[in-house]
């Protein structure tokens, strides 16, 4: 029983007078794919915003492998390893696919400004390393041929694939995907689900919101359902 990567204990949240969650307790195991279903307006996106630290819960705590999520700045939670893909995938449109990946890496030389002045040549070496890593990831996601193309010109499906590969480059351990399969054609769905199972095989955890139940069920280990402000585990 590997230790839970994400542990939520009695979380409750209401949104503009509407009670969304009260006393929700769930745990996600490391290296699994989990899907979350729920009728419309049941607050699935709000739930992901809570985990990502973009919204404050009314009560309850969220633990991500030992670290309790604090709510003053969102980027720290993302740095700790929770990657988030929005419903509208947030790729950088005016940069090439390769540049998108380079920027997503945690150790991107842009991190701190001062080492430009003192360690100029280590920057070039680091840049070469990152390009190497980015190319491999692109091959795995079969986006290799598009590495020079501007991210803005990709189709929605490819943007979602690029977004997932950026999170992988960012070494996110828990990936929150908001509707990865919606309004995407079948062969891209195939590519996305094979990418997700690769992620699972090298120890990443995926937590996704999805309406296309038959695609989500096919690849998820556990399924959760939101039912009148509670989240239950189905299988």
């Amino acid at each position: 029983m590997s230790k839970p990567i994400l542990h939520i204990d009695n979380l409750s949240k209401s949104f503009g007078g509407l009670k969304l969650f009260n006393e929700v307790n769930i745990e996600l195991q490391q290296g699994t794919i989990n899907a979350l279903f729920g009728s419309n307006g049941s607050g699935k996106t709000t739930f992901f915003n809570l985990i990502g630290g973009y919204e404050k819960p009314d009560a309850g705590k969220i633990h991500f492998n030992g670290l309790t999520i604090k709510y003053h700045n969102e980027f720290e939670i993302a740095k700790a390893g929770i990657g988030k893909m929005w419903q509208e995938p947030s790729v950088f449109p005016n940069h090439t696919v390769l540049q998108n990946l380079l920027v997503s890496d945690k150790t991107h030389p842009g991190e701190n400004f001062l080492n430009y002045i003192f360690r100029g040549n280590s920057i070039k070496k680091k840049e070469f390393e990152l390009k190497e890593k980015a190319q491999n990831i692109l091959q795995d996601f079969k986006l290799g041929n598009k590495s020079g193309q501007l991210a803005g010109s990709l189709s929605l499906g490819e943007k979602k694939l690029l977004c997932i590969s950026m999170l992988l480059m960012n070494d996110a351990r828990l990936l929150l995907l908001d509707e990865p399969f919606s309004s995407v054609n079948p062969d891209t769905i195939e590519r996305i689900s094979s990418a997700l199972s690769d992620l699972r095989s090298n120890g990443k955890t995926v937590f996704m919101i999805e309406h296309k139940i038959k695609f989500a069920e096919a690849i998820s280990n556990t399924i959760f359902k939101i039912e009148n402000c509670k989240i239950e585990k189905l299988n």
Partner: protein, 288 residues
């Protein structure tokens, strides 16, 4: 037409527009506070040189650190406010700094300004005449231009542009947005301090009226007409705007009307550039 004076003014405005471009071109936030930092740079250098008797270069360093500290305010604005309200906050900051410089008699000499500012002497050789100052100005301008030339090659700029295009995307990748905005604002404020101090020692008399909101609008004009997000745009914008008043001096009208005529031309160009060429003549980044 005194060519040395024009050259010196070109150097000052190249430094100013390149720094303004760093704030607006790479973070996508349009700031009207550049003239405020220009004024603060000038006043701090003058006050340090006159009251504490320091030489030019140490007081320049003090002015730079002072401007960098003050630039925290702009970073605070940029982390909380989005495009329109950020621009508005910097406009208000500009007017506040101007009215402090203009009204605080005890320290800044109020509306009379400060005169007899000591000149610059390097290793005993005192600079005098516009030719010497043009050389000093050229030296500083060269530093600023080469800094930006190499700055554009680094991966740091790529990250800045990504943050500018999709801030939320960068946050969800764990990038600390305000750190990068702080870097841009403080480096820009430091360079602007150099321009301010150069103007003070060159003119040997400064008063608040040369650091008004109109000055900020002029600097914004420069990066808008030249275009942002690269090197040629701001440099061209600066030289164009320094040449322009020389032409209006040709037309036989009295000086007060001349000033209004200049502002009429600036505002007309501003409106036309924003409407027809939003990313300026050479610029890459469009304020869309």
């Amino acid at each position: 037409m005194n060519w040395m004076h024009i050259l010196f003014m070109c150097e000052i405005y190249v430094i100013l527009s390149l720094s303004a471009n760093l704030v607006s071109g790479y973070t996508g936030l349009l700031s009207f506070a550049n003239a405020a930092f220009y004024g603060l740079g000038a006043y701090v250098t003058t006050l340090v040189m006159k009251n504490f008797g320091f030489n030019y270069f140490p007081s320049l360093l003090i002015a730079i650190t002072f401007n960098v500290l003050i630039s925290f305010i702009i970073t605070f604005f940029s982390s909380r406010l989005k495009d329109l309200y950020f621009t508005l906050a910097t406009l208000a900051f500009q007017v506040v700094v101007f009215s402090v410089l203009y009204n605080w008699e005890k320290v800044t000499g109020g509306s009379y300004g400060i005169s007899e500012i000591p000149g610059v002497n390097i290793l005993g050789y005192g600079l005098n005449g516009t030719k010497d100052y043009a050389i000093l100005g050229g030296f500083f301008a060269a530093i600023v231009i080469s800094f930006f030339y190499f700055f554009q090659r680094t991966p740091f700029v790529r990250l800045l542009e990504c943050i500018r295009d999709r801030e939320l995307g960068a946050v969800s990748l764990g990038k600390n947005i305000s750190y990068y905005k702080f870097i841009c604002n403080s480096v820009a404020a430091a360079f602007i301090a150099i321009a301010g101090s150069l103007f003070a020692v060159y003119n040997s008399y400064i008063d608040a009226t040369s650091f008004t909101l109109n000055e900020s609008i002029l600097i914004v004009n420069m990066i808008l007409i030249g275009g942002t997000g690269n090197l040629i745009g701001p440099v061209f914008g600066a030289c164009f705007y320094v040449m322009l008043p020389e032409l209006t001096r040709m037309i036989p009208i009295d000086s007060t009307q001349g000033a209004s005529l200049q502002m009429i031309i600036y505002s007309l160009i501003l409106i036309l550039v924003v409407r027809f060429k939003p990313n300026g003549l050479f610029g890459k980044f469009k304020f869309q």
